[in-house]
C-alpha cells in the first residue's frame, strides 16, 4: 500500500474516531439533517411518482379533443362538425363526447361525468376492475374510487342521482377504476353517450366536445392545426398538451414545495456554518496541536472533510430511505394537501416512488455539498494560521 494512501486511511481513521468521541452532538446533527433531507427527497420522489401515474393514465387520453368556443367560453358542439372533420387525411375516427360535472349537495363534491359513444377495450384490462358499460344497457357506469367513497356505495351496485330537472336517474356500477389510477380517475363517472345526454338533459344534436383519433401519432400536431383551420370557432387540445399541463402542474407544486424546503435546508446549512465558524477554543487548540505535530493544513482539512462527508452521506442515505418509505408505505401523507389538493374528491392512490439518478443527485447537491462547504471552510480558516497559539 502506498504511503500517501495509508496516510489518508490514517486521517480517515482519526476523523471517524473524532466523530465517535463527540457522538451525542453528531447524532443530533445527523437526526436534524436527515429530517431535512427526508422532506426534500419525499418531495422529489412524490413528484416523480405522481408524474409517472399521470403519464400511465394519460396514455388513454384522446389524441385530439375539439371544443367549441363562444365568447371565450366553452359551449356545446354541434354533431354536424363531425362530418366536417372526417375528410381530413390521417384521422382514424371522430366521436362526440359528453363531459360535465354533477355537483353533490350532500358532500359538496363535483363528480366528472363522461359519456362516450365507444370505449377503448384496453381500458378494461389496464384501468378497470370489472367490465365496460354496454351500449344497449341504460344506466351502466364505471366509477372512480373517489366517487365510490363519496356516494358511500360500499357493496351496493345501484344508486340514483338527480337530473337538472330534479327527476332521478338510476345507475348500475359495472366496474371501478383501479386504485393506482386514482390521481386522474378519482372523480370520474364513465357511461355511454346516451346515458350522459339523458342525465344532463342535453339535446341529441350536440355534444360537449369531439374526440379525434389519428392514424399516426407523429401527425397529431399537424392534424390539430388542420382542424383549427377548418373549424375556426373551436379550441383544439392535443394529448401532448394535456400531458405537459399535468407535468407543469406537478412541477409547479413540487417547485413551490421545494423552495419552502430548501429554505429550511439553507437554515440548517447556515446553522452548521455558524457552528463550524464559531469553533470552540478546544477545537482551535486541537488544530494548533496537530499542526505543531507535523499535520499540514490539508491534513486538518481532510479530517474535517471526512467528518462532514460521513455525517452528510449518512444523513442523505437515512433521509432518502425515509423519503422512499414515506411515499411507498405512507402515501406521502405529509404532502398530500399540497400535491393532491386540487379536487374535492381527493385521490387516495397507492404510489410507487421511482428513484431517478437526477433526483438523488439534486438532493445530494442541495445537502451534502453545502454541508461540506459549511464545515470545511471555517476549519480551513482556522488551520491556515500558524499554530503558535497552541504553544502558549
Amino acid at each position: 500500500m502506498s504511503l500517501g494512501f495509508q496516510k489518508q486511511l490514517n486521517i480517515l481513521d482519526y476523523g471517524l474516531a473524532s466523530l465517535w468521541r463527540r457522538k451525542t452532538k453528531n447524532i443530533c446533527v445527523i437526526i436534524v439533517f436527515s429530517l431535512v433531507i427526508f422532506l426534500l427527497s419525499s418531495f422529489q420522489f412524490l413528484t416523480g411518482a405522481l408524474t409517472s401515474v399521470a403519464e400511465k393514465t394519460l396514455r388513454f387520453a384522446p389524441e385530439i379533443t375539439v371544443q367549441r368556443m363562444v365568447a371565450g367560453r366553452q359551449e356545446q358542439i354541434p354533431l354536424a362538425y363531425v362530418a366536417k372533420l372526417q375528410n381530413i387525411f390521417g384521422i382514424r375516427g371522430v366521436e362526440p363526447r359528453i363531459w360535465g360535472y354533477h355537483f353533490s349537495t350532500v358532500t359538496g363534491a363535483n363528480i366528472t361525468v363522461l359519456g362516450l359513444t365507444s370505449f377503448d377495450k384496453r381500458l378494461e384490462k389496464s384501468l378497470l376492475v370489472g367490465r365496460l358499460p354496454r351500449f344497449g344497457q341504460a344506466g351502466e357506469v364505471v366509477l372512480g374510487q373517489g366517487v365510490v367513497r363519496d356516494l358511500n356505495l360500499q357493496n351496493r351496485r345501484k344508486f340514483a342521482l338527480f337530473r337538472p330537472d330534479l327527476s332521478q336517474k338510476t345507475f348500475t356500477v359495472v366496474a371501478e377504476f383501479k386504485p393506482e389510477s386514482e390521481l386522474l380517475t378519482a372523480d370520474i363517472m364513465l357511461m355511454s353517450m346516451a346515458d350522459g345526454r339523458d342525465f344532463f338533459n342535453m339535446s341529441s344534436d350536440f355534444a360537449t366536445d369531439l374526440v379525434v383519433q389519428v392514424a399516426n401519432p407523429a401527425e397529431i400536431e399537424n392534424i390539430a392545426r388542420k382542424i383549427g383551420q377548418i373549424l375556426a370557432d373551436t379550441r383544439v387540445v392535443t394529448r401532448p398538451q394535456i400531458q405537459k399541463t399535468y407535468s407543469l402542474v406537478f412541477g409547479w407544486r413540487s417547485g413551490f414545495g421545494s423552495v419552502c424546503l430548501l429554505t429550511s435546508l439553507a437554515a440548517f446549512i447556515i446553522l452548521a456554518w455558524d457552528k463550524a465558524s464559531g469553533m470552540t477554543p478546544e477545537e482551535k487548540r486541537e488544530i494548533g496541536i496537530l499542526k505543531l505535530l507535523g499535520w499540514q493544513t490539508s491534513d486538518v482539512l481532510a479530517v474535517r472533510f471526512y467528518e462532514g462527508f460521513a455525517v452528510s452521506v449518512l444523513a442523505l442515505v437515512l433521509g432518502c430511505t425515509l423519503g422512499y418509505v414515506h411515499i411507498a408505505f405512507f402515501e406521502g401523507v405529509l404532502f398530500r394537501p399540497l400535491m393532491f389538493g386540487w379536487s374535492v374528491l381527493t385521490p387516495n392512490l397507492q404510489l410507487s416512488p421511482e428513484i431517478h439518478l437526477t433526483d438523488v443527485l439534486l438532493v445530494t447537491c442541495f445537502s451534502v455539498l453545502p454541508y461540506l462547504v459549511a464545515t470545511v471552510i471555517p476549519a480551513w480558516r482556522a488551520a491556515s494560521v500558524p499554530p503558535d497559539s497552541a504553544m502558549r
Binding site: 504511503l3 481513521d13 499542526k291 507535523g294 499535520w295 499540514q296
Partner: protein
C-alpha cells in the same frame, strides 16, 4: 556540524499595525548537533518566539534562520510543516496533550501523517511509552493521568518519530523537584543518543544541570549573554 544558524534575526508581530510588537531583534546564534542549550530569560524576553522559529512554526520577519540545513525564510507554510515533521520534536509547557484521546492515541498522532499503518504505529508508540515507563497507562484517556505521567506522554510523543532536534518550552514549570530532575536525567539520555536539545526555562535547576552545554540569556528580544 552546525544544526541551527540564526543571523541578524528579527521577528515583528502585527507589522505595520498599531499593535506592532518587536519580539526579537538582532539575534545571532549557532547551535551544534548534539548540543544542549538552555534559553533563560524573564517572561516576555522572546524565548518562546525564538523557540517557535527554531521549531519551524513560522519564519522570521528578517534575517536568516537555517535549521537542519534549510533556510526557513524561503519556505512556505506547507514546507515548514514538512520540515518540522521530520526534524523536530516539541515538548510544551502545558504538555498540549489532546485530552479526549487515549495516551496511546496521543503518541500515535505524529505517526499518522507519516503513513504508518495501524499495527506499526501502535508498536512504535508502545515501545516509546514503555521506555518512559507509562505503557501501563496506554489505554487511559489522557485526561485521567497524573501531571508527571502526562509529561512523559508528551516526551514520548515528541520522540516517537525519532527527531534530531528536541525543543522544550518551560518543561519543568509544572513539575515538582523530583520529577524535574527525572526529566533532566532523561534529557541527558537523549543527549547521549546524539539529539540536539534546546530548552527554555526560568528554573535554575535546568540551567545548573549537567546535561546543559550552554546557557543563553535573553532580555527584551535580544541575547544579552551566552556562557558554556
Amino acid at each position: 556540524m552546525i544544526m541551527i544558524v540564526l543571523k541578524d534575526l528579527c521577528k515583528i508581530y502585527n507589522k505595520g499595525q498599531v499593535n506592532e510588537v518587536a519580539a526579537l531583534s538582532g539575534i545571532n546564534l549557532q547551535i551544534r548537533e548534539n548540543e544542549v542549550l538552555c534559553l533563560k530569560g524573564s517572561s516576555g524576553s522572546g524565548k518562546s518566539t525564538l523557540l517557535a522559529i527554531m521549531g519551524c512554526v513560522f519564519p522570521p520577519t528578517s534575517g536568516v534562520a537555517e535549521v537542519g540545513g534549510k533556510k526557513l525564510s524561503r519556505l512556505p507554510d506547507r514546507f515548514l510543516t514538512l520540515h518540522r515533521r521530520g526534524l523536530i520534536g516539541f515538548i510544551f509547557q502545558q504538555f498540549n496533550i489532546l485530552p479526549q484521546l487515549t495516551v496511546l492515541d496521543n503518541v500515535m498522532v505524529p505517526l499518522m501523517v507519516l503513513g504508518y499503518p495501524p499495527v506499526a504505529r501502535r508498536k512504535k508508540a508502545l515501545a516509546i511509552l514503555k521506555r518512559l515507563g507509562v505503557s501501563h497507562r496506554a489505554d487511559f484517556p489522557a485526561s485521567q493521568v497524573s501531571g508527571g505521567e502526562l509529561q512523559r506522554v508528551a516526551i514520548a510523543r515528541a520522540l516517537v518519530n525519532n527527531p534530531a532536534i528536541i525543543l522544550a518550552d518551560e518543561p519543568t514549570a509544572h513539575l515538582d523537584h523530583k520529577l524535574s530532575l527525572s526529566f533532566l536525567d532523561f534529557m541527558m539520555e537523549l543527549k547521549e543518543e546524539g539529539k540536539t536539545i534546546i530548552l527554555t526555562s526560568h528554573d535554575p535547576l535546568v540551567a545548573d544541570h549537567v546535561c546543559v552545554d550552554r546557557i543563553v540569556e535573553m532580555a527584551d528580544g535580544r541575547i544579552i549573554s551566552s556562557c558554556s
